[in-house]
């Protein structure tokens, strides 16, 4: 069952992925820089740093995927 042309769904998905991943990647990079500047080397700080690195990886995977989907 289709309500709208398939390209509309593809475009919607692409906009969601690029919009979310690019903005979230910027947020995570800022969080990572802040966490790296903190002087206290606590487990919570390590957790935040690792979380930001993983989150950045997820966003990069999303952006690369969106590029592959639209450019190939």
């Amino acid at each position: 069952m289709t309500f709208v042309p398939d390209w509309v769904v593809s475009l919607t998905a692409t906009i969601i992925v690029i919009g979310t991943c690019s903005s979230w990647l910027v947020v995570e990079i800022v969080r990572l820089r802040r966490a790296l500047r903190e002087p206290d080397r606590t487990p919570e700080r390590s957790d935040r740093i690792f979380g930001s690195i993983i989150s950045s990886m997820i966003m990069i995977v999303g952006l690369v995927g969106a590029a592959l989907f639209n450019l190939t």
């Binding site: 069952m1 289709t2 309500f3 709208v4 769904v9 593809s10 998905a13 969601i16 992925v17 979310t20 487990p43 957790d47 935040r48 690792f50 979380g51 930001s52 690195i53 993983i54 989150s55 990886m57 997820i58 995977v61 999303g62 995927g65 592959l68 989907f69």
Partner: protein
């Protein structure tokens, strides 16, 4: 200060989001990709709305936070199973992702035993990864580079589970919070 009732608008929105697995499964069964995608978008929006509703109605509770996490786990886990069962998602990466999720849950129980009290292990990376599962389901529904996204997610999840396992099972546990008199 009186704790708000667990029967509140925010938890109602969360429950409704959890129940969206049924229309999603129905649309997958009918091979209707666009309605399934619409259900996923509405579910994602409701995930934002329940936080806003909790703030607006001042009904944030500890139960609500746990209920939200459990709903995410059940909704995303069962969605992945449904998608894999109907061939919309690759079976073995889904099995790896769900298997790692179960292993992580077992480690959390062991961590709780090490600490000696009921405690929810906090992992920023796992939180981010759980949020990513909604996107993963979306990619499967719109049939966009499904193998690429699922294998990438399985690899990243394996890294996170190994990292968290070290923290939960090897690293020293935090000291109990001081009890105020």
């Amino acid at each position: 200060v009186r704790e708000p009732s667990i029967v509140n608008p925010a938890n109602a929105v969360t429950l409704l989001r959890g129940l969206s697995i049924f229309p999603l499964a129905y649309f997958v069964h009918q091979d209707w990709r666009q309605p399934a995608f619409a259900v996923l978008l509405v579910g994602g929006f409701m995930d934002l709305v329940d936080g806003w509703v909790a703030k607006a109605f001042d009904c944030r509770t500890a139960f609500g936070a746990v209920f939200d996490s459990i709903t995410d786990g059940i909704l995303y886990g069962s969605s992945l199973v449904v998608l894999a069962a109907y061939g919309w998602a690759p079976a073995w990466p889904v099995a790896v992702i769900l298997g790692l999720g179960v292993i992580n849950a077992v480690f959390r129980v062991l961590y709780s035993r090490r600490v000696g009290r009921t405690v929810n292990y906090h992992s920023v990376a796992m939180e981010r990864l759980t949020g990513n599962l909604a996107f993963l389901i979306g990619f499967a529904i719109v049939a966009s580079l499904v193998w690429y996204y699922f294998i990438a997610c399985a690899v990243i999840m394996a890294v996170v589970v190994v990292h968290d396992a070290k923290r939960m099972l090897v690293d020293p546990v935090p000291a109990p919070a001081p009890v105020s008199s």
